[in-house]
Symmetry: C3
Subunit: 422 residues, 3 copies
């Protein structure tokens, strides 16, 4: 439970807000690389942290990310011409390169110096992991580019997708860091007690804060068989990484060992969820077939989507809940693991009212997340660098998820598994 002021403080991300200032200290996903497939291709709209921007891939392959409005007369750059290393406004032909410099101003006399005095707002970008990252913060505080293991890994062993969510980013992040709900919300087989995480509905939560955020273990008691441990990583400001050992029908080789999300604020009430899969096994690349099989399981398969990264199952149709199925087969009657998440997160309203919550012992990770975000606001306000900005802090981490024999302590037992190999 937060005060109304605290809730405002950690949810709103527009320019000049406390959390907006925090968010602007990190590289943020602005688009999937394949949204800008070709050089000099069509520019795309990007709305990020409440700012309206346009992204374009120039003749050299670099990605420009500029204001959605021409600095001349505020014409929309979306309709701009992407040509010869610059985006040209269609209104009066002013042209800007990826740095924002005005490189042509044909509506002014040839000898005019006006061109040198005008530029378009532009943010630095960096590509990696199939993602175009942007840095929207103060120039002098720009950190080294993202170095998460999944970004570093070869493209053959990674898959990234994206989904639109109509809710504030924080309630989505909190859902992603809350392990307890998986025993309920994601119970796909009512009455089946063979699923490890269904065997104990109130896992023990250990949260260990560190330089990038925290890692936490949820331990479920399996009785004689020992425990089932899931070690999640939370990297500030809004990334979750979790292990995955569930083997699909195709067998062990197809198994990814990592799945995660980044919840990127489009604005205060809309979020892009970036979904990541990473194989830990050098000999097991992630095939297209397998990736889309997984995507379908999570509710965003090829047949599940509308244009604009929207789900066909959405708020307007109650996620196509099937009440009969809910009664007899699955806990929710809603298809798709992450669609189930979407249903509860969007259902909280645009910004969850955290003044009316009642948190229990299983909410430790959620509580820790809020503490870290409030701390980050304070740190940034007092001129410091928040956790997880420096890639050195998170470069070597990975999450893991497995059963352990009775008596084993996960810290020591899983130490090698929790270290990045890529």
């Amino acid at each position: 439970m937060l005060t109304a002021a605290e809730n405002e403080r950690i949810t709103r991300v527009g320019p000049g807000t406390p959390m907006g200032n925090v968010m602007r200290r990190y590289w943020q996903p602005a688009a999937l690389s394949h949204e800008l497939p070709e050089r000099d291709g069509a520019p795309i709209r990007v709305r990020l942290l409440g700012e309206d921007l346009i992204a374009f891939r120039d003749t050299e392959g670099r990605v420009g990310l500029v204001s959605a409005f021409c600095p001349h007369r505020r014409a929309p750059m979306f309709f701009g011409r992407n040509e010869e290393c610059g985006l040209r406004c269609v209104y009066h032909g002013w042209k800007f390169d990826v740095t924002g410099a005005c490189v042509d101003m044909p509506s002014e006399p040839p000898d005019s110096l006006f061109k040198t005095k005008v530029s378009i707002e532009a943010y630095p970008t960096w590509e990696g992991g199939g993602v175009v990252w942007a840095y929207l913060g103060p120039k002098d505080l720009q950190p080294a580019p993202p170095d998460y293991e999944w970004v570093r890994a070869p493209a053959t062993h990674r898959f990234v997708s994206k989904t639109l969510e109509h809710a504030n980013w924080l309630q989505a992040l909190e859902g992603g860091l809350d392990t307890a709900h998986s025993s309920f919300l994601h119970n796909e087989k009512l009455g089946d007690k063979t699923l490890l995480r269904s065997k104990d509905g109130h896992p023990r939560i250990e949260v260990e804060k560190n330089a990038y955020g925290y890692r936490y273990a949820s331990t479920r008691n399996l009785g004689d068989e020992g425990t089932y441990v899931r070690v999640y990583q939370y990297v500030l400001p809004s990334q979750q990484m979790r292990g995955s050992v569930t083997a699909p029908s195709g067998g062990r080789n197809k198994v990814p060992n990592f799945a995660g999300h980044l919840w990127i604020p489009i604005d205060d009430v809309t979020t892009f969820v970036y979904n990541t899969i990473l194989s830990y096994d050098e000999n097991a690349p992630i095939t297209e077939e397998f990736a889309w099989e997984e995507e379908a399981r999570f509710g965003r398969g090829k047949n599940d989507m509308l244009p604009g990264f929207k789900l066909k199952q959405n708020m307007a149709n109650d996620y196509l809940i099937d009440r009969q199925r809910q009664k007899t087969q699955t806990f929710t009657g809603i298809n798709g693991v992450n669609t189930q998440d979407m249903a509860v997160q969007e259902g909280m309203g645009p910004i969850c009212d955290r003044t009316r919550e009642h948190l229990g012992t299983s909410d430790g990770a959620v509580i820790a997340t809020r503490q870290l975000l409030l701390e980050a606001c304070d740190v940034v306000e007092s001129g410091g660098m928040p956790r997880g900005v420096d890639p050195a802090t998170y470069r070597n981490i990975r999450p893991f998820d497995c059963p352990l024999p009775p008596g084993a302590d996960w810290h020591t037992a899983l130490e090698p598994e929790l270290t990045a190999k890529w």
Copy 2:
């Protein structure tokens, strides 16, 4: 004409507003009983007086009406599982009974006492007259349940339906208490002077305030034939009852002797109209066939509706007004008696600007309504009980509508007809 402050005072109904406090002193229709047809069936959304709620019928047949949001982490209870005398949140499995008590909290350790400290906001409900009633006010001031004649009467002699209206409840109520407009708005046969209420366009209005609100007679002069008297009942806060003597083609036996409405605020700008029909004749039950014939006449027949109690003829399509028909056949060119009402009421805007009205002598009932509502605000603010809360005040009333011979006084002539028999 009201001041802007008065208009705010008697139109807005959210928690903590003056009229909201008045409304919360009465049992209010929350749903039709048949919206919750079966025990342990799907829960439904209820928005009432600006509050978002979920209704469910439990294993014992009782109706629960709880907050739309789980008290744990504000997940939407709409997707909840309705099982074994309780509604279980799909997020972490917390389960609440119809009283709001938390009866299971599986995400916490079995020995936790947290369950006893948390409950979901729940309102008392009561079923009668085919309606689920809810009381949203202070616990210690809860009145006896509704005892209107139509609620008490056998189901065979009653019919209740419901329609969505996009306007503040008060302008709808005022339309329902204004008899003068029926000579114009509802004139279905231009130039026909045989219709009683068309014979005199400026009826004499007598309003008699009493313990439940008022009754009022509108008297139209029929010349040598005497008068045509309609006695309406207004029961606070928003119920109208009127007599009905028009015989449909099927003959006298099919005639209901009562029709009425309750205008229930969904919020400040949206209203559910509950429509009631009651037969006064023990030997003339209301058949399904007759009920739907009447509904069609009023504009909400089986072919007139969209899901969600919406009319196909609505604001977005100008109620399918037929200008040629308006010129030659009916006063409005709009089909459906209550659709005509809807057109003028919704057309006033979300909340009618009563600062710019000019009321005449035929607006006596409207003026009296506002006086009573302003009075009710004062009474509730000073700790008193407003009119019409106590069922004893209205238990024995009914409306009536008939021609009277010259010289007859309706008070004495209609005294028996104005007394409830059921």
Copy 3:
């Protein structure tokens, strides 16, 4: 570039705002005459300067323009009955004539004097040029009716249409007074240097303020061939007139010599664009065929429209921009000259943020427009009459557009062409 306060001052037009007061000193187009084709026909909705009104053509052919709400109980006059020289409210039958006087009040007793004390808000109207004009300002300051040349000219030589735009009127007006963009935005043949206005992308701008607003010449250097001069007229508050010499395939006789627009605020964020064509040649009337050919060229041909004067190519579908065509054939890849304007104007957002502009030497006309509008706000506030209210100031003007030989001065060379003949 304006301050935020200046931008508010000259863009907002609701009742009581500075620019709203300016706008209310002029006759404004309220509808096309053919929107009210017949006497006693269906009334139409008119929203003008943020006010909701209803227009109707009465039995005598006069156009009434009255409040959208009946003064009695605020019922919507749109559903009113247009009969025998008056519009009758369907709620209680009150009837008003085109002056706003209440001419029948059947819900009150026949001897009531109430009728003489109530009227509906009504604005004077005047028809001319195929347009219904309305005056929404102070009664005692009502100017003589519009006397633009195109209004005066015979209907055979004139064509007027109308288009809905989702943007503040001022950014649309500014687009219409900005000649520089035509070399870019409206370049329909990439690489073609034969088009006069493409030969010089940075025209010299001369703005000459006068009693109705300004006229301005943009002069493009054609080298040995001399210059290409376009003289635009700006008549306050929001009318542009420009010459046109481009001959369509059909030959010289079909050429209009005038085209213009009026940008009429529906409210602060929505605008009706009235489009005018006028033939200067007595022997060359504007045929229906030619007019619609022109309309199609501008993007509002018969196949381009949706009901309500909306374009099929609109914001919601990115004006059906064709990126391939943009790369290889036209500057924008958007069809329709004025649809291109619409794309940049609507793309600026509902009200352009002029605090973040960077104006150059080619923006002289835009700068002068703002100066005149700010001046007009001051003049009206201090009780004076703004430019262009008195028809004498603009009665004799017309725009022109043509090449001139080397050395010629447009002031003297074009003097006869810039004088109205109709």
